[in-house]
Symmetry: C3
Subunit: 208 residues, 3 copies
């Protein structure tokens, strides 16, 4: 079972590295800049989680496979993705959604394994899921996705709650994981597809 | 006595959560986005402080009351603050000033309790006081308050020095705290009220 | 030998503090704001490195000399640098290049001392070298240097690889250090001088 978590973790690393590399390509960065942006996107959230939890050295220092996955993803991206107009417009948001779903579960799982409460598990899932993307967007001077009215943090929080509740209700770890990932993914992809959004908290000065 | 510190800490958490929620409202974020921004503003500075000091897991992981205070503040804010034009223009800066004063003392106190020097106490007060606000402003793509010529970091540093010196001169902890908070608050509120600023270090290319 | 590392570390701290102070001057910040920006630039990268490695409290908490060097640099900068038009245009990038070279080696050295692999050493050199500058640029709302096509992260990565390979090939620590610093410095200064850049990974939508 824990092998599956590890496999999902590496998959999430790859898709977030891809999302970072694609963002780098939109800003015309050089290959090493692409590596930097892909890396902070892929391991930024987990690093913040580990630093806050105190499980240092953080995960990618003790296990080189994360960096190797990132380097391989960037290399593949640099070689294969050279025709921008052939790249579907939705590639980046969809890759990001998969990463969000995978990392939310990984983060919540880690907090629970360390004996923390369900509430902290949800928060750690959120930090792992959205942390890397926030750093990527900050570095690219984009409005962080989490700031927009699109359902983003929401998808991660609901996924985390779903995972914690499933475990509490006696489901086995594997089913809980798939359920949580699926719910995050469905919510986020629906939001992308139909431009769904929750009602905004709006304090903007009205023009009248 | 330490109960007072704890009470102040929760108060500071509430006012900074409010300042984060109000900033979120100005950017038309959805409710979960509001929670995220309120949280990083309220516990961002303290989290950086704890990660640097190595007192991990950071404070809000081992004590759920901080997250509960943030959620309650956000909920109250979402329900009560719906008429932007009825909200005084100065609400955000003033809430921020109170948070700055409270967190400066909390941060300095924590460093001293761990046996660090007065200089480190002042720095930790500053990090706790301005850290959350800097992350909030970065995420909202605002120029961080600390970057502007208004007296901001200055108020925190003077408050921290005031606290450390008061303790060293033999005052009891409670008096030192109130003195430090009061000085930070007076300096910051005066700066807001009368647009005070220290002479800027100006290297801008002159037009002549 | 380790005294030399310490000396280089303080030099790197001074030049990065200078680069932060100069950036602050371009944004017309007040003296305490200058201290804050100089500090995060000088010790930001190393703090992230230590937090990730788990060697907390981070280096500048247990050794006050770093903060003293920063304060002295800022004071000197505030007193001496008052004529912007007399300041050569390249001062900031060149100071930054020296800091990059010094901190890359310091970071890699620290990782190796802790028993981590050469790959982690290169990454830690990169984080130490570019971390502070990225925070500085984020706070100043500049496009981080690392994002531009100029050779920046590249210089640090090559310096780190050069250091690790030199040590592995049996060179003594001192020679490896100088070699690594020199290679980083030459690459970065050449890039500044002749506007060199690697071919960009370009996914920008073509206008055609």
């Amino acid at each position: 079972m824990s092998q599956w978590i590890y496999f999902f973790d590496l998959c999430g690393t790859a898709v977030f590295a891809l999302s970072g590399a694609l963002a780098a390509g939109k800003h015309r960065m050089d290959p090493f800049g692409v590596i930097v942006l892909a890396s902070v996107t892929a391991i930024g959230g987990g690093s913040i989680r580990d630093a806050l939890l105190g499980t240092t050295p953080v995960f990618w220092i003790t296990n080189h496979n994360y960096i190797i996955v990132i380097l391989a993803t960037v290399l593949a991206c640099l070689v294969l993705v050279r025709k921008p107009h052939k790249l579907p417009q939705m590639t980046l948001p969809v890759a990001d959604a998969f990463g969000l779903a995978l990392f939310t579960v990984i983060g919540a799982e880690k907090a629970l394994l360390l004996g923390h409460s369900g509430m902290i598990a949800v928060v750690m899932g959120l930090i792992t899921g959205v942390g890397g993307g926030i750093i990527r967007d900050l570095l690219c001077r984009q409005v962080p996705m989490v700031l927009r009215t699109e359902i983003y943090a929401t998808a991660s929080i609901i996924g985390g709650i779903c995972y914690t509740l499933s475990l509490l209700s006696g489901m086995d770890s594997m089913t809980s994981m798939f359920l949580a990932m699926l719910s995050t993914l469905i919510i986020r992809l629906s939001a992308i597809r139909w431009h769904l959004s929750l009602p905004a908290f709006d304090l903007k000065t009205k023009r009248h």
